[in-house]
Amino acid sequence: MSLDVEILTDREPVDSLVPEWHELAAACGEPLAAPTWVLTLSREIAGASETPRIVTVRENGRLIGLAPLCVDLAQPRRAADYRLLAGDMPRTTLLALSGREWEAAGAVAGALAQSNPQADAVALESVPVATCWPIALAEQWPGRMRPLLRQYFTMSSPTVALTQGSFDAWLGAKSSNFRSQMRRMRRRFAEAGGSGRFSTRETLADDWDAMVRLHAGRWEGRGASSIVAGGASLSTAYKAIGYELLERGEFRLRVLELDGKAISVQLFAAIGGEVIYINGGWDEEHAQFKPAMLGILDAIEDAFARGERRMDLGPGAQPYKLRFADGTDPVAWWVLIPPGRRMPLTLARTLPRTTWRELRDAAKRALPPERVDRLRELRRRLP
């Protein structure tokens, strides 16, 4: 059956696409590829020169695939690098109905090869490893030569399977050490007068502000954080997303309070049975309560109650995540460089970035962890 492909570059047709796009994201179980996240973040944060190139793939009018891409039209030397809209999120992806990825990728590749401006590179960053999209795009890119495709970085993303039927059954299957630690944590927090809640429409704005404050406090002197760097515009975007998705249960802020004051706030997104932990912040003054772990435990209990399938704890294998995880579903960074006159220039331009990632990876593989930590510390001190 033939597929209809279209590239949307204006806001209006994109807005009318939202219900179908949302349905597709739910079918794929990809919370951060849902339209509210992608469109709101790109609107509030992207530079004025970044314009959408959203490729839709339809069969008999039904949306079966979607590539939410954008291109920055103000890059030096008129470079046209296509990337995923809101591509800084922990897990982003192109979408297609299950089993239709290959066909959809063929249609997307065909459209991108004809798009204006012609793509010098297509960056797919933080996309799931277990997807055929990057190879499918490269294999089906039209023309006499196949594009260059490079996977230059991967990052672990610990996951919790919610397949045991209930929170109690899940907890019962964990080690006795884990169970007693979690129970002790909850008891001590409750005894200290602590309580937990999810944000409501009424509390959302204040809760988000608390999250930013706590997150910034956690990151002070520890390096760069996208939430801190994003400033007011990022907060505006997150609040807007929250107001839209909160009541559907697709945006969740877990707040822990002590004496009426937030000591921890954590953000989760959900759709189609999949929950993803995005970020959080907590007050170091109350480190003894292990608020980050308490918040995740609460969110897992909540996800069980909603009948969800899996919680993705997000990229990065921090020890607190690994206490909960029973699997991993890593994300990968790819770049696809189509053949053409500008290919050498694009290669030269992208090489430093990909090589830097690969060098870092090689250092991690070659050096003992203490030396990697020392290198990290050194880098942090550099201006």
């Binding site: 089993g99 290959w102 699997g327 991993t328 579903d329 593989r365």
Partner: protein
Amino acid sequence: MLEAELVTDVERLAALAPEWDALAVAAQLPQMSAAWVLAWWRHIAPAAATPRTVVVRDGSEVVGIAPFYVEPGTGGRLDYRLPGIELAGRLAPLAVPGREWEVAEATVATLAQAEPRPDALRFEGIPLDAHWLTALRDCWPGALRPPLRLPQVEGNPLMSLREGSFDAWLAGRSSNFRGQMRRLRRRFLEAGGVSRLATAETLAADAAALTRLHAMRWDGRGHSNLVDLDDRFTAFTVDLGEQLLADDRFALRVLELDGEAICAQLFVGAGGTVLFVNGGWDERHASMKPSLLCLFDEVEHVFEQGAQRFDLGVGEQSYKLRFSDGSAPLAWGVLMMPGARLPLTAARTAPALARARLRDSAHRMLSDEQLGRLRAAHGKLRSIRT
């Protein structure tokens, strides 16, 4: 903490069958089940092949099995391979869902110490939408990541079975398709045709019919692995049937006319996925389109069984595309192990990679007609050589 064991004899593998099968069911990979792989070892494995299967445990639970094998003494590059590409694609290690990376890490750490040391892991028909290629490469111990080359990708049509019932599925197909299939069924029945599944009693004869009909189809048409295997394929099918028939995970469908098999197709299931392995039919009855009819009957059967996915196997033949509503392509490639022998391995891999690139370029540059002519010439050359 995971523990990995390298198993190098087939008897020891057989002892793992129940836990192994549970992993194949969880991964929905019938072609990686214990029954399939053990039958492969008994009837199809090259004489010099020995297992290099990595079994990964978390405490007493088996959480992963990577059933590689090695065929030493063949000269050239020493590859570790997964068994069964002669029969079907979608060959991959097995793991509890979500634990693929842990299993990959334990697997490659064990393979890096195995004897003889592999020059390469060769992947034949590995799924692209799985973790394994990246996981096995990224987890390889040492400062350098092994180079991974994927010169070939093949389509693999699927039926999602999302309609829930055969009637609902049929109603969603084109009126042309519905009309044709109903007409074919009617004509076959009017001619006295019978469609049936093999039973324990008919298994041996039906398996022999499958091999014979498959060979008939390929006569003068080029190369088929199953034709090369001949009686060994029959023995494999019987062995597999004996293990899986009682569990409703083995279906050998036979179309008969006047008591004679005119078409046979083999299907195997695990965890809600049914795989179409292969088939054959008698050209004298081409007007009945037995291959389409047999597959159509089996689609009805898999809906009745409550299966979730029908994997139509490697290759995008037109009769499969009439049924499919999706595809999950497979890749062929090689992961070359870092070390002193890497340059030699790379040199030995280069010709195959160059051939694949050439083939790819031909596909991109030539028309279908030109490609057809090229294929025919290649087939002739091959038959002259053999």
